[in-house]
Symmetry: C2
Subunit: 202 residues, 2 copies
């Protein structure tokens, strides 16, 4: 059994190294992305949509060329365990999702996903075994037409130093950067020395 272009064991290793632990969601997510890749027409440039920020985006980033930083992965906060891969110009693609009817055949998966028993009573190994055994059988597929305009990342446009903090920001955000417009998460900032111990140039 492969997941994307990896063997099952290679994928598990990658997940632990990238995501930090073998979360069941990454394992289900591996099968979701794998199935979407298998159903995608060959040889097209595609973008990805992930319908939850929890776990699943990392499966997309590990198994496809789409990442948060390169803009080919969009994360929607719908809380649905689903991934769509679509041809970025025309919008044609496939959507694979965790099917609530199908997971009933795998009790640990069903109870885990719908939170039917407290985390402390879950048997993680049995859950992982059931996901591995079920594989694609937990999933359903749709053919979709995406409205690419709705998901396109806005161009940054002109960039200029902020008159308050001095850092460059997109002029389109206003007369100062958003950090200086009161959205900053920092209660306190203090500039440190320029010759930090251990830091060096090339």
């Amino acid at each position: 059994m492969n997941i994307g272009s990896y063997s099952y064991e290679e994928y598990i290793h990658l997940v632990k190294s990238f995501h930090g632990n073998l979360a069941p969601g990454l394992l289900v997510g591996g099968f979701i992305v794998d199935l979407a890749l298998k159903r995608l027409p060959d040889g097209e440039f595609f973008d990805a949509i992930c319908e939850t920020p929890v776990c699943l985006p990392d499966a997309v980033q590990l198994l496809t060329p789409c990442t948060i930083g390169n803009g080919w992965l969009k994360v929607l906060d719908f809380g649905r365990f689903a991934v769509t891969l679509y041809e970025k110009k025309g919008g044609r693609g496939v959507r694979v999702y965790l099917d609530m009817e199908k997971i009933k055949a795998w009790p640990e998966v069903h109870q885990w996903y719908l939170k039917l028993k407290p985390k402390k009573d879950q048997d993680l190994q049995r859950l992982i075994d059931q996901v591995k055994e079920a594989g694609h059988r937990l999933l359903s597929i749709q053919s979709v037409l995406v409205e690419p305009e709705k998901l396109r990342r806005e161009k940054l446009g002109p960039v200029t130093p902020c008159p308050v903090c001095g850092e460059a920001y997109p002029l389109g955000h206003g007369d100062r950067c958003r950090g200086c417009q009161g959205e900053s998460p920092y209660l306190e900032t203090v500039k440190l020395d320029d010759a930090p111990p251990g830091a060096c140039a090339a």
Copy 2:
């Protein structure tokens, strides 16, 4: 010269494989994250803030344990080229940013970041050479105190099948999932067969 726990060459290889190409932003980003890691007190659990969605989140994901899927990386749309690593309970951390005064000493970097000349007139190799030569000297550091409450990911809470599409969603989103509340990016969805060619279970 190392970037995080990688040699310069290993990091370049990782960037190409994960991000798809050697974007100059990933190279600057490598130095930003490297410097933040060097200045972070040892042995603490930390979270990351990336102040732009463009390129930089991938440097964080490659060089730290923080990813989008595990929730330890928060991406803010401030358009500032800055990364903060902070201790997740107390909020103490370091913020490293691209310093608009310092980059003036590296003309290709200055012109690239502030978009002072059209992309077609940029010399990509010279830009990459200047970033490599400058390294940490493009950057400044702040000690910061983060308000962790402002960045904490909301708990999903109870999950239930949506009465419209049948997929599970967080009850806190309303009486149906956000996809069925009209936020869907899909113009069309058609369910496909359950026995896809090439798909298989474990």
